[in-house]
């Protein structure tokens, strides 16, 4: 039942997420008194649960962001650090991005476990601080002008306008809550999927809830409880603390926020535009808190309203402090969990630049001469390996990430029992399953070799050329490869699959 203890930090993270992020969806509606807090909380909770249980199921195969953390006690601690930071910001009534808290906490884990931090994540976070509010502000102003024009042409009665705005706020809010649940449940619960304590459950014989759905449902309920018990504070900051918002601009703000998120986060839209030969929007990871604050500021500047700069300053500081604080908190918590409670918070990852790796690197056009001197030593510290790699010189950042990826060691074995019991054959295509079966019994020391063997066995496992049109397909395929990588990884010492190993530990 150790899993239940570990699950508690996921639930806490869900609770913090609900307490903070619901404000982005319903803050302006509640702040303008267009929707009562109770109504907002009920609608938000219902749609979060629906989104997490129905659409979130797609995320059942991914571990979410915390997947980078390779030991359960580590995930527990990282989730706890992210949750504590978000909770702290919520107490200060500051809308922040929970996913940035998670990324910050993961970086803390990286530092603690001597893993390499993907610098891209860091730069992306900093980019969103600037880009996202700006984009959202621009969209809000355009929408505002448009809606004002429509109102001046149609001249609706004050009460009709009120009813329409209210309905709009409720609809956009419900939609936003649904996405909130669908997008974030993987971060809250994804990491616990492999150790899910729930079995399939038939509900009055009407439909069956899978174990994963029950787990997600539980996480979503935690988010809902967060919304109910603690989100009012941040809602008031969003809905009136920063600047006094009127109902119609309130609607424009949430609309602008959803549009911003959609334009800059939707791979389907990118795929649609690219496949029709249209220019695409760059996919920048945008945060809903930042989009909302940007939209509020955009409209306020446009109308010349009085902005409370003190509150704005606090919010900006909160944004910067969130990933930083989460990282520091994670580092210290990991130290405690590791040394005081004697729990394994990370697993050692080994790297070796052997002949196969050099061969593959050369095939991909990387200059391998300098790399030869690194082999055949096994590196157990990623940071040391990376710095040694850099010392060899001549490698670009992209190339050294490739070396890091290819040199990573492990054991993968295509065991028939795992194919029979654990692989979700409905998710994979028939061709993909056949290819997998054809590899039964084979062993691999590198994940990329396992992937290459799959690609050799079937074209359906082959990544398409890296173009914008193919991005979506490749992303989906990578998700599946990642999933198989986790399922078939075996513990070096025992030869059991990691999954079984986790089970025995639990």
């Amino acid at each position: 039942m150790e899993i239940l203890l570990f699950l508690s930090s996921g639930l806490f993270l869900g609770w913090s997420l609900g307490a903070n992020d619901a404000a982005n969806v319903f803050g302006t509606a509640v702040g303008t008194r267009m929707i009562k807090f109770r109504t907002a909380a009920i609608v938000c909770s219902i749609f979060v649960v629906l989104g997490a249980t129905i659409s979130g199921a797609g995320a059942a195969h991914t571990l979410g962001k915390l997947g980078a953390v390779n030991a359960l006690a580590g995930s527990f601690t990282v989730a706890l650090a992210a949750a504590l930071t978000t909770f702290w910001m919520t107490r200060l009534k500051i809308p922040v991005s929970t996913s940035q808290a998670i990324v910050g906490a993961i970086i803390g884990w990286n530092v603690y476990s001597s893993s390499v931090t993907d610098m891209k994540s860091l730069t992306k976070i900093m980019l969103t601080w600037v880009a996202c509010p700006l984009i959202s502000a621009a969209i809000a102003v355009v929408l505002f002008i448009l809606i004002r024009k429509i109102i001046s042409i149609n001249k609706p009665h004050l009460l009709q306008l009120d009813a329409g705005t209210r309905l709009g706020l409720l609809a956009v809010g419900a939609f936003g809550s649904y996405s909130l649940g669908a997008n974030n449940i993987a971060n809250v619960m994804g990491v616990f999927v492999p150790d899910n304590p729930f079995n399939d459950l038939s509900v009055f014989g009407l439909f069956t809830l899978t174990g994963v759905q029950q787990l997600f449902f539980l996480g979503a309920v935690a988010i809902g409880v967060g919304v109910f018990t603690y989100s009012e504070r941040v809602m008031k900051t969003v809905g009136g603390g920063l600047v006094k918002v009127s109902p119609v601009p309130a609607l424009v703000i949430v609309l602008a926020q959803s549009i911003t998120l959609f334009l800059f986060a939707s791979t389907s839209l990118e795929h649609f535009l690219a496949s029709h030969g249209l220019p695409t929007f760059p996919l920048v990871p945008v945060s809903s808190s930042q989009a909302v604050v940007g939209a509020i500021l955009g409209i306020s500047f446009f109308k010349g309203a009085n902005i409370r700069y003190k509150v704005l300053g606090e919010i900006s500081l909160g944004w910067m402090a969130t990933p930083l604080a989460a990282g520091v908190v994670a580092f210290f918590l990991l130290f405690f969990v590791d040394n005081v409670f004697d729990q394994q918070v990370s697993r050692t990852v080994e790297y070796r630049v052997d002949g196969v790796v050099l061969e593959e690197l050369a095939r991909q056009g990387v200059e391998v001469e300098g790399l030869v001197e690194l082999g055949p030593d096994v590196f157990t510290n990623a940071v040391k390996f990376k710095s040694d790699l850099e010392k060899t010189g001549g490698l670009e950042a992209k190339e050294s990430s490739l070396v890091l990826e290819l040199a990573r060691l492990g054991r993968w074995e295509v065991q028939p029992s795992v194919i029979a019991n654990d692989v979700d054959t409905h998710w994979l295509t028939a061709g993909q399953v056949d290819a997998l079966r054809s590899l039964t019994g084979q062993r691999f020391n590198h994940l990329w070799r396992f992937n290459a063997a799959l690609a050799d066995a079937s074209d359906e496992w082959k990544l398409k050329p890296d173009t914008t049109v193919n991005k979506q397909t490749n992303k989906e395929l990578k998700k599946k490869l990642d999933y198989l990588g986790r399922l078939f990884k075996v513990d070096a010492a025992s030869g059991n699959s990691e999954k079984e190993n986790f089970r025995r530990d639990g």
């Binding site: 303008t32 004002r148 004050l158 009460l159 009709q160 009120d162 009813a163 309905l167």
Partner: protein, 215 residues
């Protein structure tokens, strides 16, 4: 969810419309009541008093209903106070008109026939001011930009009422009537003029509400 929300809005909308109709009709009845009194047609005058009495209670009832609806369903949170202030002040117009007609009925002022015309003009100016303010009030709900377009008319008719009243008072006091009679006649000039003052009070509020309503 959609239907009840829009349905209750429609109901309140029609109640507000009816309220404004009642106030406008009240001012028309008032004008006709004053005319009937001046022409000594007491049957018609009494009928007008009954009519304005009914209209005034209807207006009261409607404004209370609108108030209750707006609060119980927490509609138009931003403008609720303004709308209720508007209704309350518009209600004052019909209250004042009713009180004025009752004063005529109770005190039966003895108005010399040569002053009839001026009293009637005064009542007409009051009626025009109320008409204009009701048009503005309707615009406040539908087309806030055109509120201003009618407000100037209110001020115009209110000023006209002032100057008519002023001239009337001068005529009264330059006459050879005895002082008690003069004071009584002046009191009724003021009494009628008050209706236009109430219309102007509504107009002043509307000017501010309209700015607040501009999105």
């Amino acid at each position: 969810m959609t239907m009840p929300l829009f349905r209750s809005s429609k109901i309140i909308e029609s109640q507000i419309d009816e309220f404004l109709d009642v106030v406008a009709e009240g001012s028309l009845v008032y004008k006709k009541g004053v005319k009937a009194y001046l022409e000594k047609d007491m049957t018609d005058f009494e009928a007008r008093i009954v009519a304005i009495d009914k209209l005034e209670s209807r207006a009261d009832k409607l404004s209370k209903e609108v108030e209750a609806h707006l609060y119980s369903q927490s509609l138009i949170p931003e403008h609720r106070g303004d709308v209720l202030g508007l209704l309350e002040n518009a209600d004052n117009i019909i209250d004042t008109a009713k009180a004025s007609l009752y004063q005529f009925s109770v005190e039966q002022p003895d108005i010399p026939e040569e002053l009839n015309d001026q009293y009637l003009k005064l009542a007409e100016a009051c009626y025009e001011a109320v008409e204009a303010v009701i048009v503005s009030a309707r615009a406040f709900f539908r087309d806030v930009d055109s509120v201003k377009d009618n407000l100037y008319k209110v001020h115009h008719f209110e000023k006209e009422a002032d100057s008519i009243s002023d001239a009337l008072k001068r005529t009264i006091f330059s006459s050879s009537l005895d002082l008690a009679h003069k004071i009584h006649l002046r009191y009724f000039a003021l009494n009628v003029e008050k209706v236009s003052d109430k219309a102007e009070a509504v107009a002043d509020r509307l000017a501010i509400y309209a700015i607040k309503r501009t999105i």
